[in-house]
Amino acid sequence: MILNKNFLLPAHIMFQTFDDEAVLLDIRTQEHFSLNPIASLFIQSIQEHKSTKASIENILNEYEVTQEALETDLKHLVEELIKHKLIEVI
């Protein structure tokens, strides 16, 4: 399962939070992607070099969501992020 892997932000990706919004920006293409608060927290965890498992625990502590629902959402998110080369598998 993809969530058993750990991820990192490639050097060409910039991440920034703006109050209640967060953005990932690909420097090479100048394309940017808005993130919802949970996705933003996940990226922040990756940026802090946390494992995916630790990131999931972090989100569960912050938001009232079941682990099952969260993992389903994160699986889709990770697949999208990998597809757009916004994160890389370590």
Partner: protein, 375 residues
């Protein structure tokens, strides 16, 4: 002498990191906002308010600081994109001020607003860089012929490009300072001694510390330190590097380049406005010169009158000219300043005439008359 407004004093306090809720007593918040915006200090005021939890429901500081954060982020991305493209063509560059200064002096990209991206490149690379900018959709008001015209390269130091959609402005410099003629004009040495800063996971070249400090002193002085942010930039660098600066080198650079007066003025501001102790005797001596004291007094008066908010008079401004005149260290530079006042020569003037040999370069001034007479 008139004292600065409470709002102006508060901005200086915030820029020094001294802020408490009590400081807001008797402050006109709307005026504070306008003054902070003009002085480039909105993010710092916002940070101070945030730290003291002094928030109102409609917080214009927060909203504007957020906007600045967005702009800085997207402009930084644009800078990194350009650097990536240029590096692929083996073109070296040094970003000046802007995102890199914000990140390295303030340790936070969002704390220092910037409105353009300044980059220093080798003269030989100018056509390639300009071509890359044009391909990205940037436009210049001048013909690109300017970038290979020897007299333009000699008399000018930079050219601007604007992106019509994003409104991002890129200033392309081939000299660090227009009138520098020794170490600061030696671009090879600047690149060779440049230091690396980590910026968004990328190692970017930056000016050597002393050169950067002097550059900011001269830049701020040239603009009469009208904005507190220019003083604050210097103060931030001073705090970070006062113990690592090679003060003898800094002093020598200022002397060699005839920038002793702007350098001493900046140090005087640090001493008087930011209560900093300047740890270099020769520099302290410079700060005691009558000219420096007179210039410092003028800067103080500008801020006491919140000059930055006053509508600027049309036409010639004697006070500004006299300030610039006093700022010049040498008679030669004072004469050049006078010449530029009475005989300004613009890039387009030079381009009106085919390149001339050096000994005939005075003929370029005829182009000015050609323009004035609309020939």
């Amino acid at each position: 002498m008139r004292e600065p407004s409470k709002e102006c004093e508060l901005l200086f306090d915030i820029s020094k990191g001294n802020f408490s809720i009590a400081s807001l007593e008797g402050i006109n918040e709307s005026y504070l906002f306008t003054l902070a915006q003009a002085n480039g200090l909105i993010p710092l005021v916002d940070k101070a308010l945030e730290a003291s939890r002094t928030r109102t429901p409609e917080d214009s500081f927060k909203e504007t600081a957020l906007q600045i954060k967005r702009t800085n982020f997207f402009m930084s991305a644009q800078l990194l994109y350009l650097i990536d493209l240029l590096q692929k063509q083996n073109i070296s560059l040094i970003p000046l001020k802007g995102p890199l200064l914000s990140q390295h002096a303030y340790k936070d990209l969002s704390l220092r607003p910037f409105s353009d991206l300044d980059i220093l490149v080798f003269e030989k690379d100018l056509p390639k860089v300009a071509h890359t900018l044009l391909k990205l959709g940037y436009e210049s008001e001048h013909s690109l012929e300017a970038l290979s015209h020897p007299y333009v390269l000699q008399k000018s130091s930079d050219i601007s490009f604007v992106h019509p959609q994003s409104q991002v402005i890129i200033e392309l410099h081939w000299k660090l300072l227009k009138s520098a003629s020794h170490s600061l004009s030696d671009i090879n040495a600047l690149f060779q001694h440049s230091i690396k800063h980590n910026f968004q996971n990328t190692q970017l070249a930056s000016l050597p510390l002393e050169e950067e400090f002097l550059y900011l002193c001269v830049h701020g002085a040239k603009h009469r330190f009208e904005r507190i942010e220019w003083m604050n930039d210097i103060n931030q660098l001073f705090i970070l590097y006062k113990n690592t600066f090679n003060w003898d080198k800094l002093f020598f650079l200022a002397k060699e380049e005839s920038y002793q007066t702007p350098y001493a003025l900046a140090l005087k501001i640090l001493q008087q406005r930011y209560q900093q102790n300047i740890p270099h005797k020769k520099s302290q001596a410079l700060m005691r010169s009558k000219t420096v004291l007179s210039l410092y007094k003028k800067v103080f008066i500008l801020h006491a009158n919140d000059y930055i908010l006053k509508p600027k008079k049309e036409g010639f401004r004697w006070m500004e000219f006299y300030f610039s005149f006093q700022l010049e260290d040498t008679l030669r530079r004072k004469i050049i300043l006078l010449r530029s006042l009475f005989f300004p020569l613009y890039i387009d003037d030079i381009l009106r005439i085919k390149p001339l040999p050096k000994h005939l370069s005075f003929l370029y001034y005829l182009a000015r008359f050609k323009r004035l007479l609309k020939l």
